[in-house]
Symmetry: C2
DNA sequence: GCATATTGTCACCACCTGGTGACAATATGC
DNA sequence: GCATATTGTCACCAGGTGGTGACAATATGC
């Protein structure tokens, strides 16, 4: 084996993601990651000061979350933010959350971390919390303050919407039907998007 | 030790709930439950055919879920269903979900199982799924079919509402603030209830 | 060149997990 | 009474976990 600390650190970071994606967060541990990386586990303690440090570094370098561009809609090119602002607010909200659904559902690793969050708080989930918070702030900053007559109500409504998406997307990994809706078929998700859009347009 | 199979089985069932409530589902195992019950673990295999069988029996005898009365509102006595039906549908929905929030938040064991569901499917979570399904059907049966112009939309909206409640209530065990809302204070939950009521009244 | 620090390998530890076979203690059927 | 079945105790197994100390192999500084 070559003696190259940087490369071994990289291998461990990559292996972390591989184990997380392949076996789930419950299998994430020094033994499995070291085995996956083809490296001795003692190096995790030397280079990252333990599993927590490794996970923290992994969180800092990976991107498991959609950027604002993805949420505004891929069809908008050029100055997205400005074009987006031309929509009425309810339409903006509907679009953002429709895109949010697609963004989260297409990221198995993100779904895994969302499930992890429900059970435990660690370096990775904590990191995701701040990312999410920043993204929320960015989105709110796009809104003309004059349009928000009741910010507290708006925060409540958007909290409910994002929460429901997190739940349904994560839950879809273990169940087929929720409230009569098929979470394993695109038709089911279209039904959810339609309801979401209806809520946005009628309530904001 | 007395030789009484029935009592031993009871002790194991009780111990299952105790371990689940005190240490969380990740600690639920033959060793911890047997120790909690003060009984040898081999009896779990003999009497319940393993941990799965024990959990299944535990699921069948415990009640971790609100009944329909609790969701309709405790203030209604006598013929609840009939009194409840006198409300307009949007008001019915708002009330049910407000009560649902209180019902779930007040049951730590239920919150633990909701978190468990996000990670794994087992005898207990499967049992809870059917309970929940039945409850949903009961609630829908209270609605005059003529009032539902778009049942698919209604299913989507109520799915989003219940999903968001499950998520936020479970998530509150690990984080304080979600989307600027304090999940550890009653004021935060009042804000959520207000948003939920707003959605119900404006969209149904 | 050589001493020193870094990188990697390996064996080992204590502890916990699910699971089982052997055996003692008690109850039951006749 | 006695043979049999049931209940409970205990010791043990293989395999997994996180964590560490000892040592060899290589690179670096002078």
């Amino acid at each position: 084996m070559k003696r190259d600390r940087q490369e071994t650190e990289q291998r461990l970071l990559i292996a972390t993601g591989q184990v997380l994606a392949r076996d789930g967060f419950r299998k994430v541990g020094v033994n499995s990651i070291a085995k996956q990386a083809g490296v001795d586990k003692v190096l995790i303690y030397r280079y990252f000061d333990g599993l927590d440090g490794l996970v923290k570094r992994y969180a800092a370098q990976g991107d498991f979350w959609p950027g604002i561009d993805e949420l505004l809609g891929e069809e908008l090119i050029g100055n997205k933010a400005q074009a987006f602002r031309s929509y009425p607010l309810p339409e903006q909200v509907a679009r953002v959350f429709e895109n949010y659904i697609d963004a989260i559902r297409s990221r198995p690793l993100t779904l895994e971390i969302l499930a992890w969050e429900m059970v435990e708080r660690n370096e990775l989930t904590a990191h995701l919390e701040t990312i999410r918070e920043n993204l929320g702030q960015q989105l709110i900053s796009l809104i003309d303050p004059g349009e928000l007559s009741d910010p507290e109500l708006f925060a409540g409504v958007t909290a409910l919407m994002s929460a429901s998406i997190h739940y349904l997307a994560t839950r879809a990994r273990h169940i087929r039907i929720y409230n009569g809706i098929n979470l394993r078929e695109e038709a089911g998700w279209d039904q959810i998007k339609r309801a979401l859009r209806h809520l946005a347009l009628s309530s904001i």
